[in-house]
């Protein structure tokens, strides 16, 4: 049984990997310089060299950030379940409820494929419609992958702006939907559905299990998004050297006021996860798109997605879906104009 000694527990593996992570992360820049300029012998300033440099540096950097942060997000999320979030939101006054719902939307594990059972579960527990919407708006729009990529490619300021404005939209849009009293546009069968109680989720999870949930999250999310990150950054790298600097200025620049609503309209049917869209948006900005317009485009792509609307159509009548798109769309538009005005 000697090999038992070497059989490490998952959290021990984690502790060993952490310094390795820092070592790689902090040597990525000199390594990329060495590889591209010394080994490949390319000249600084050349288009191909710049493109190659961009990919070799940015892709591992973003993947390292994703792996580390998703791991911790996985652990944090083990403390939040939709069942607990629902309990927290039961009987909350509208505005307070909207604020809480939007914030819980960030940390509660959510997949748009579970939007229906979640909606039914909330409504049945007496969570107000507007509060439920604050959750449904925040959950997909402000997701961890988007925040990490924004941080990695733009820095913490833009990441923070995204979170704060996204939260504001979710809170205010949900609050307005609540004020409009649109319960009549919820499919009647929703209120007739009996939700059972299964007594699951007693909340006692061993710490070891939470660590494992962190590893599972990395496997699941990073395993799914790495290809989009690679594609997005490859497109970015290609455009980096070859597309002229002011290419997008006329179309998505500050001077073109119509670019904000237009970007939102284009963004709705475009369905991409955050992993693919953020690197593209970073190229748009580099090539002359203004921050507000690019931000609006990204929020529309991630937050207003056609597939999710199709799923929600099962529980919501069309006028409510359009109200939802309208209110959130206007919110995103205000954010877009605001940032074009400030920066």
């Amino acid at each position: 049984m000697q090999y038992q000694i070497f059989k490490l527990k998952n959290f021990q593996i984690g502790i060993i990997l952490l310094p390795v992570w820092f070592l790689i992360y902090h040597n990525l820049l000199p390594f990329t310089n060495w590889l591209v300029f010394d080994i490949f012998g390319m000249t600084k300033g050349e288009y191909l060299a710049e493109a190659l440099w961009f990919f070799i540096f940015e892709f591992p950097k973003v993947m390292l950030l994703l792996t580390l942060i998703i791991f911790f997000v996985g652990i944090i999320r083990s403390f939040f379940t939709p069942e607990r979030t629902r309990k927290a939101l039961e009987g909350k006054k509208t505005f307070t409820g909207n604020v809480m719902a939007a914030m819980l939307g960030i940390v509660t594990p959510f997949c748009s494929c579970s939007a229906i059972p979640l909606f039914l579960g909330f409504v049945e527990a007496g969570v107000p419609l507007g509060v439920t919407f604050s959750f449904l708006i925040a959950a997909p729009m402000i997701n961890e992958v988007a925040i990490i990529l924004l941080y990695g490619l733009f820095g913490w300021k833009v990441a923070l702006i995204y979170v704060v404005t996204g939260l504001s939209i979710a809170i205010i849009a949900g609050w307005i939907i609540g004020l409009l009293k649109l319960e009549k546009w919820v499919e009647p069968w929703v209120y007739e559905t009996k939700v059972g109680h299964n007594g699951m989720d007693d909340g006692k999870i061993a710490f070891e299990t939470r660590i494992n949930m962190g590893f599972d999250a990395v496997k699941e999310i990073v395993g799914k998004v790495w290809i989009y990150v690679a594609l997005g950054i490859a497109v970015g790298a290609g455009a980096h050297g070859y597309v002229p600097e002011d290419f997008m200025a006329a179309l998505m620049g500050k001077s073109a006021w119509y670019s904000v609503p237009l970007s939102i309209l284009i963004g709705i049917p475009l369905y991409s996860n955050a992993a693919g869209i953020v690197p593209i948006v970073s190229v748009l900005i580099e090539k002359g798109a203004s921050l507000g317009t690019a931000l609006a485009f990204m929020m529309s792509v991630i937050g207003l997605s056609l597939p999710e609307m199709v799923i929600l159509r099962k529980v919501l009548k069309l006028p409510l879906i359009f109200t939802f798109i309208g209110v959130v769309g206007v919110g995103i538009m205000i954010v877009g104009f605001l940032f074009n005005f400030i920066f």
Binding site: P109, P117, L120, G121, K194, G196, N198
Partner: protein, 79 residues
């Protein structure tokens, strides 16, 4: 024993169904595996995340996948 997979047809639900079938075959037990796609029936089990796994009318998993070996353990435990 009766095993039900609750899910409205998302990718994860299909993955879970496949894994359950493999687990049942490997355990060589007599089990009726059924897929429940009707949302109202699913809600009757009180889950808020799909896919869900129900063994003998008891919810044992919700909102996550499990590997074949994990499923074998779960199924054996609830036999």
């Amino acid at each position: 024993m009766e095993i039900k997979i609750l899910g409205t047809g998302c990718a994860n639900c299909k993955t879970l169904e496949k894994a359950v079938n493999i687990a049942v075959a490997e355990l060589k037990i007599a089990a009726k595996v059924e897929k429940v796609e009707d949302i109202q029936q699913i809600m009757g089990y009180g889950i808020m995340r799909t896919p869900g796994l129900v063994i003998n009318e008891k919810v044992v998993l919700s909102g996550k996948l499990a590997s074949v070996s994990e499923l074998k353990e779960i199924i054996a435990k609830h036999q």
